[in-house]
Symmetry: D2
Subunit: 376 residues, 4 copies
């Protein structure tokens, strides 16, 4: 690695591209990271890409990602394109010797994800790093929750209860989009949001899901398209129970039609000696209880996770000055850059992303077979 | 029915007997009900029964329920004995022409419950009433929730999310009891508490579960007994997804090892046009949201269910003066007595109790067969 | 004291009479107390009193309290009549050798309260006990809060923040009542509900208010009466800051026009080493924080005050089975009866009630003099 | 105004300088604003200023603010220096024709603030704008609260209840700083945080405080300094009641020793027809209740203020993706820049800042005179 700043290229300027851009733009103002430059933003539409690049702090824009990943002044490729493009871009970028950050899901199919894992392993042997963007691992409250569990503060974890509820599809008249077609989206609530819950289960416990039983349902089977009603071919909601290698059991419920829930990823972890509860709509808070001390004094304590001792927080503001959702991306990029600097494998790896895909596939298989439990 | 007060006999003076006794003692002070007399409390231990009777307001005590159900001055038999005795006592009492209230679960086996339903139907034709004690139907917030749903305030209900979490078995050293043996308890968290959640799903929606997929688990398989460790033969925790006749889907999670949760029956209902949320630990509150009005003003509203317009409340205190868990039993007895007075069938009926048992049996069958979905 | 049951007479059958009656009816079923009999309920209207007596468990009814306090079979007089009658009845009853429980406020004037204190002192020397009914001292969460403070768990208390907010007078068209006239009610929100907050401040800290600055306001100065609009001559809302002997400072805000608050007595206590928070609308909960342990783990813990180790709770139900507002009266009577049995002075005493009156008077005086601080 | 980007100079790089810098760096990525350039960051220490400038996105750094405000390429001066420097810098910058944004408090003395208001008026006549940084006006939930009140959704506002509680001085051993000396800080909790609460009262209601009664207290009168214990000469906590021109009454409590409260600005507003509640520790939420519709359905609704229809939010993320504390500064700068572009007076003006100072002064005067009410 030369001493010049690392050159960054981002592919995609929609919702995720915008979120990643603000992270690249701000990371160095808050964290000690290698010097970077926002070199180029790639998008299909030249004019839109140019406008977005100017707005989001990129030096220039481009429309051909093949060309961009070949540039000498690009060291890192950040893939925010739709899932069906992940494998092709990521593998090419890794082969071109670029470090790669790819948004979740790793890809839309198991086969693609397996190819990406192979490419990542090959690249890793050449010192080229890769990472998949399960950004909620960088919520300070959840990073701290993982630490509490790893430190044994909950004792043996027995049960994890998760749900990820949104309501942007609750209205039956909400129109058809690419996210509602199996061929473009892969799956619905399952891949889009249950994937976050499943990743958290494995992340928080440092454990692996070994079997799954699930159910999928589409409450609104047809939605208006530009030329009349179209069939929705993905799930609106998903349910699963998961067994983990440790013996813990987790439940998952995901829905995009849960009226009144905006972005509510809730997680509860129950161990032999303590418990945790979290809600993404209040992402600066963590509830924690342990069974030590007088029984009369026990209760879930609401920790405002804004102390310097909490993960990532010393870079931000004084206590009680809450941070926003987007900062999970700043933290993600901070960790990615530090791993690159130190020559270490970033986490979560493509292998971690593939493992989540395997669980999703098992849930789909189970759902198609009357919920019978599938081994992973 | 003569003009003399209705004579009440209660069988059992443990936890449930004590809760029912306070209801019999107080119901007439708050509600307009037929006159009653607390005639006799039945228990196996003569001395204990006598002390309990004196304490809880019963005129006398007895040890032989057979004798008591034959007494002319007993009109109503309230069965708070353990589940394995329900069928025998209830059927005998009904045949003796006594109205019967039986604590949930209706019984420990499907066969017994079916016999009880048959006995109740026969008694009903003779004007003798019966009721099973799913007391949470009489939580004002839940009775009001049912009304909101029945009035269409949520639109078509799509998803119900329930959990019933306790922690009194979280400690691995908590000793063996009859509640942890299959032959006495029937099942564990499933029958004890998931049954309440399942009854609520059907009650709130006015709907019927038609299929179930489930999982059971025993986290603490052996516990200390008087002569050394014994095997726990029931579940510590249970998970299920249920399909309802209407097309709604419900999830259920029950646990007696969920550290920090004391008596937390949580219910969330999501319809096309609104949603509800409830937690038994805050039983005077109901959260309600509907999608009408400006989107910017929408949010779950915390209704303090203590207004005169709320079910049962006009009998109690001014607004904001919260009531306790035990009053669900007062309400239950009020409704039971009014139904007897009016010659109408009380609700929930033995048939309702049997339907819950069928769902529990389906979950057990599914759990034993790798969670495969079972039709009910 | 003879071995026969203590005979109880209650005066008043409205809201408070009904609440006290349920306590007399139930106390022996839950607590170990001397035997009692609900002898006679006194009310001005013979027919209403008779009906109320039958309904609330009293053996008989009467209309003349003078006669009743002279009866040999009456040992305890429970005064639930309006405040302007308290002094006369209480003093007569004490002189007649009856133990007296009087609802708060002790009386409507300082002079009356001083006379009552004198009568109580004289009676005490003859073994006759007296108590004023600040029932919120018997909320388990608040009794437990007092214990935590007394045990030093908060360190030196610095600030107490209290509010008691209701909304039953928020509607400008709510009609005139005796509670809105100075001559019958004494004061408005100040005496009715701020008094509870002030008593709690002194009770929780075991401390005495030594000075007060206050403000009173009537937001709805005229209300409809039977013959047209009438002037409201008491306050709708009150504010005060109080200095305590220990150096702590407390704020008080009371309102009966705070839309949306039903019966919300909120109390927060901040000490050097810990803090507490409470809301009467969630009376089974107490929030507690201390500064010990790792800073990253600190947070207000929500204690569900339903454990056997919490005050009064072992008499009730298993953990998580919440109790209601009315049980504060059961606890109050339990403590009153135990004090009588043991020949000890019950708490809060008439002197405690007088001290609250003194604070109320100082607030009124301050409010009339541009909030200037008044010494007590 | 030329067509070149507006040049920005910021003075101060500590906490507030850092917060303002991120706002300048990000505003154009989210909002439509005139083009800007972060020209120069001014600080006393040349090396620190240089490092901060590089880190926070400024083209260069400087140490002499006099020189900077004279630069032709500087159009806007953003003053984040300590309060005692505000007046001198602001007046000089305005006279130099620069638009000025000054952090709250406007200054440390009434006299200085009055001079600043005069300078702002003179500048305004020349098209030069000025603004004081009460950033919490730009919390979307509070901006929306103001709109609800202005739209009459609460009816006539009667009571406002505010508190601003922190605990960073709770530890008696926390060391002496310039913030604890009257000569440098002006006042303690009063000016530092009660000022925010007071500004909110006036902002939310669109009203003016006309009289105040107050109390100040220093719980920890001496703290360790580098050469031994030093006297704390400002308040740790402050209490006030305020009357407003409309007849509404507001209470204020501020503390920096309220253990367990990190940055908790809580505001409750009660009107004749509705109410609002807010807590800065949950700044993405607003509780709102109105008295319309069935009484049984009324309750405080928790609005997650992340909808496109909420103020400022359409620039950010999809619903439920919460924003952080720092974005109040982005919004503030957005509004400042838009006002400059449109030639309109930004709000809050220096006059608004002065009005808050007058209220603070009245509280101090009242506190020094036994809380007697002071006219403003």
């Amino acid at each position: 690695m030369s001493t010049r700043p690392l050159g960054i290229a981002a592919i995609g300027y929609a919702f995720m591209g915008r979120a990643h851009s603000q992270a690249w733009r701000n990371v160095a103002a808050f964290f000690e990271v290698p010097a970077i430059e926002q070199r180029v933003l790639v998008g299909r539409d030249a004019e839109q890409a140019s406008l977005a690049a100017a707005r989001y702090g990129w030096a220039e824009s481009a429309t051909d990602w093949h060309e961009v990943i070949g540039r000498d002044d690009v060291d890192i490729v950040d893939i925010c394109a739709p899932g069906w493009l992940h494998a092709e871009i990521a593998i090419a970028a890794l082969e071109a010797g670029k470090h790669v950050l790819v948004e979740k899901p790793l890809s839309n199919t198991l086969a693609e994800s397996e190819a990406m894992v192979a490419a990542a392993a090959a690249a890793q042997s050449r010192g080229v790093q890769s990472m998949v963007g399960f950004n909620y691992r960088r919520v300070p409250a959840l990073a701290y929750a993982r630490k509490l569990i790893a430190d044994g503060r909950l004792g043996t974890v027995r049960e994890v209860r998760t749900s990820y509820l949104q309501d942007w599809l609750a209205d039956s008249e909400a129109p058809m989009t690419w996210r509602l077609r199996k061929e473009t989206a892969g799956s619905g609530a399952l891949g889009d949001i249950a994937s976050h819950a499943i990743d958290q289960v494995q992340y928080l416990l440092g454990d692996t899901v070994t079997e799954a039983s699930g159910r999928l349902h589409t409450f609104v089977p047809r939605r208006p398209g530009p030329n009349g009603a179209e069939n929705v071919t993905v799930d609106d909601a998903a349910w699963a129970t998961l067994a983990l290698a440790s013996g813990a059991i987790a439940s998952v419920e995901a829905s995009r039609v849960a009226v009144g829930r905006k972005n509510s990823l809730r997680i509860e972890v129950y161990g032999a000696d303590g418990a945790l509860a979290f809600d993404l709509e209040r992402l600066n808070e963590l509830e924690f209880l342990d069974v030590y001390g007088p029984k009369a004094e026990q209760g879930f304590r609401r920790i405002v996770v804004t102390e310097p001792h909490h993960p990532y927080i010393d870079a931000w503001w004084p206590q009680g000055h809450v941070i926003g959702w987007e900062h999970t991306f700043v933290h993600q990029i901070r960790d990615f850059l530090v791993a690159i600097r130190d020559g270490k494998s970033p986490s979560p790896s493509f292998e971690d992303g593939l493992q989540v895909q395997r669980v999703l596939a098992a849930i789909e298989e189970s759902a198609a077979a009357k919920s019978i439990t599938i081994q992973i």
